[in-house]
């Protein structure tokens, strides 16, 4: 990285040249520092130089405190409801500020700098579209108009997603150096249109074929073809599309002027999807076992001798229905943790920032278990334990993420960053957040 990049010199921040000199030498130009202090700073510098030579993995640390977060969360929810949702944008900023600030790497924490007004604009756009759709379709029954609204939404969707990703990265910084996103709008449209065609077109062709060659023996063949395509889609097409999406995101992301790189083979992502699939089979078995156990106890003849159940026999049915639903929700939570674990590890293990590697050592089964028990905790506490469950989940993910960097002082801000008043950027008007 060239420090004396001509663009950097022209950066609007005051006395930036001076600052650079200072940051290089760590010796103040003017000041009332004592001799010892300078010696201390020098020795610090030497220590840092020693560190530069090693590049072993360092683990991210998550210092969020559930009790502290609970108070922030409850105030957020209360104010959001009392202001009819308007405060939700500010609530999001405070939540993210807290969670980012609690995440440490190499002794320094992350920063979240989003402007809540941007988030509000994004939310208003989405609520407006949804409201328009709801009124036209459900209340007024104007099919054409509601279809037009869906059309508009689909057309601007890739743009909205790109703006949101840009916003999310721009809002984050580490040691006062911002993350950036430079993905092109063109590549987003290309990605979404191609994926939609690949995912949907075969079904249309097959349906057309069924209608066109209308006879029974052929119908079997088409049915078989659709099943084969679905299997192929799950094991081959989805993984590749997912990989392409990560490439679109990560390969256009920057930390300061340093570029992130995502590099994975198709085979490796297909293998991840296959493992998740195997867990799905396990999950189905678990659901089956859970439901049969409940059924066994619920319909045991002896349970009919319990006085309440004798008088109200349908209570057993409700109990059975309720417990079955609970098992489904919990297994869904379990699968969410499993797939999140596998995929997060996969993304981390194939991502580098220049030469520095990321590494994920999340245990998918453990994350699944955390997510599974979180649902139970939420139900038992009627949602009040939400802050605990969230921190518990994030802690396992963050504290199993590692970064191998030889020098944490070497990163440089992008000179095109407008460092204006109060560090607030002159963002494009449509840098918004829709919460993807």
């Amino acid at each position: 990285m060239d420090f004396m990049d001509p663009e950097l010199k022209n950066s609007p921040s005051f006395s930036s040249e001076q600052l650079q000199k200072e940051s290089l030498s760590a010796i103040p130009l003017k000041g009332e520092m004592s001799e010892d202090k300078i010696v201390e700073l020098k020795s610090n510098n030497e220590k840092q130089e020693n560190n530069q030579r090693t590049s072993s993995y360092e683990t991210f640390e998550f210092r969020a405190n559930p009790k502290e977060y609970f108070k922030i969360w409850i105030v957020n929810v209360a104010l959001t409801i009392l202001t009819l949702g308007i405060y939700s944008a500010w609530a999001k900023v405070r939540t993210n500020r807290y969670l980012y600030a609690s995440t440490y790497l190499h002794g320094s924490n992350f920063e979240y700098n989003a402007d809540p007004k941007r988030i509000l604009i994004g939310r208003l756009i989405v609520v407006g579209l949804y409201g328009g759709f709801y009124i036209t379709s459900d209340i007024l029954g104007l099919q054409t108009l509601s279809l037009i609204i869906i059309g508009i939404f689909l057309i601007i969707l890739p743009w909205l997603i790109r703006q949101a990703i840009r916003f999310r990265l721009k809002s984050a910084s580490y040691r006062n150096i911002r993350f950036r996103y430079f993905g092109e709008l063109k590549s987003f449209y290309k990605f979404f249109i191609l994926s939609a065609i690949i995912l949907v077109a075969p079904y249309f062709v097959l349906i057309w074929a069924v209608i066109y060659f209308d006879n029974d023996t052929m119908a079997m063949t088409y049915g078989l073809l659709i099943v084969i395509y679905m299997i192929l889609a799950f094991f081959v097409i989805y993984p590749i599309i997912y990989k392409k999406y990560q490439e679109l995101i990560i390969n256009n992301s920057f930390f300061g002027i340093d570029k992130f790189e995502f590099n994975a083979s198709n085979k490796s992502i297909m293998w991840i999807f296959f493992k998740v699939f195997l867990w799905f089979i396990v999950a189905f078995f678990l659901i089956g076992i859970g439901v049969s156990v409940i059924k066994f106890f619920a319909f045991l003849p002896s349970s009919h001798s319990i006085p309440i159940l004798r008088d109200y026999p349908y209570l057993i049915k409700y109990f059975f229905m309720g417990m079955t639903t609970l098992i489904y929700i919990m297994i869904l939570g379990f699968m969410k943790g499993i797939s999140d674990g596998y995929i997060s590890n996969f993304v981390r293990n194939h991502t580098t920032l220049e030469e520095a590697k990321l590494k994920g050592t999340i245990k998918p089964a453990k994350l699944g278990w955390i997510s599974f028990t979180n649902i139970l905790l939420l139900l038992l506490s009627l949602g009040l334990l939400y802050p605990w469950t969230k921190i518990r989940y994030l802690k396992h993910k963050i504290e199993n993420t590692h970064f191998a960097c030889d020098n944490y002082d070497k990163f440089v801000a992008d000179a095109t960053d407008d460092v204006t008043t109060y560090g607030e950027e002159a963002m494009d008007f449509f840098d918004i957040d829709i919460g993807v």
């Binding site: 405190n65 006062n176 949602g383």
Partner: protein, 334 residues
């Protein structure tokens, strides 16, 4: 007053240990970096738990300090105005008050607030819009589930006469005869005042004068009078927005189940209101709702016959209608 902090210049990721001095005349001084700014030019972030406090300068320099308490003390002593938000977030007492306020607000918005909004929207929605929407809806239903009625002319005329009596000959209300085997014995009203009655229901009425059907028509008229369709749409939109916000992070089922519970609650409320309207209207015409009760008994029988005895009885608290038993009892008393 001096605090320890880390300084990041915004140009490189290098960390500098600095001391920030707050002078008595309201300036912030960082000697090592030649910074001497009035505090009004500096943005000191609101405290957020015990996370390092951010102090931002106009040129993009940022400092972070872990000495939150000391900073608060200094800011208080120099009279720097801090937003109220951290005070709310800091104490358990206020957290509990927030929780109670939130709970009260949710209950308020789901009951009085939703009612008020729905009434307001119903009052500003022009008749033309409702008529247009209803015409659309009926056309859609005709295309999909509704078929032509097979009732005899005689029977239709009889019901039309009853309908005129019930609606007091108001031209706003129009009666439509249809049949729909897939729906079963039922009737429904559209916001425009179009009321559709299905053959399946008429055929169940054993009363010679078809007074059970008359009661049903009065009930449907109640839905129109109180604008239940529009209010229901508005109220359930409000409910799903509120519940969705609270539960969105968990799973979709956590959102769906409470939303269904709340919206079916609204629906039961509307049905009860329409039942009461029917009773009142029939009373005005000096008629009894006993035949309506009988019609309900017949309906229950026919549904049981269709579905068999093995169906799981839907408990009243997740049903869209009040329990049939209670309704029959109420109609029998009038």
């Amino acid at each position: 007053m001096i605090i320890d902090a880390k300084l990041y210049d915004g140009v490189s990721s290098k960390e500098h240990n600095v001391q920030i001095e707050f002078t008595k005349d309201g300036y912030i001084k960082i000697a090592d970096f030649n910074i001497y700014e009035p505090i009004s030019n500096v943005k000191i972030a609101t405290r957020l738990g015990n996370t390092p406090r951010l102090i931002e300068f106009k040129n993009g320099i940022r400092c972070k300090s872990e000495q939150n308490d000391k900073i608060d003390e200094i800011l208080k002593s120099i009279g720097y105005k801090q937003p109220i938000i951290h005070k709310l977030e800091r104490s358990w007492k206020l957290a509990i008050i927030s929780f109670i306020a939130m709970f009260a607000a949710i209950v308020f918005f789901l009951t009085v607030g939703a009612d008020y909004t729905a009434n307001f929207i119903a009052s500003i929605t022009p008749r033309g819009t409702l008529d247009y929407a209803s015409k659309n809806a009926l056309a859609q239903l005709d295309k999909s589930v509704l078929h032509k009625s097979n009732l005899t002319k005689e029977k239709q005329e009889k019901i039309k006469k009853l309908f005129k009596e019930i609606t007091n000959n108001n031209p706003r209300y129009k009666l439509h005869f249809r049949s729909a085997p897939s729906i079963g014995p039922n009737a429904f009203a559209l916001p425009s005042g179009d009321i559709v009655i299905l053959d399946e229901l008429v055929l169940l009425d054993k009363d010679k004068e078809l007074r059970g059907v008359e009661g049903v028509l009065a009930h449907e008229m109640g839905h129109v009078v109180y604008r239940h369709t529009l209010k229901g749409a508005v109220k359930s939109a409000i409910a799903s927005a509120i519940i969705g916000y609270i539960t969105s992070d968990i799973t979709f089922l956590a959102t769906t189940i409470p939303t269904v519970l709340v919206t079916t609650g609204y629906s039961r409320e509307f049905e009860t209101q329409a039942d009461d309207f029917a009773i009142k209207r029939m009373k005005q015409l000096h008629k009894s709702t006993k035949p309506l009760a009988n019609l309900f008994i017949e309906m229950e029988k026919s549904i049981a016959k269709r579905d068999g005895n093995d169906t799981i009885k839907i408990p009243s608290w997740i049903s869209t209608h009040p329990s049939t038993k209670d309704r029959i009892k109420k109609f029998n008393q009038n």
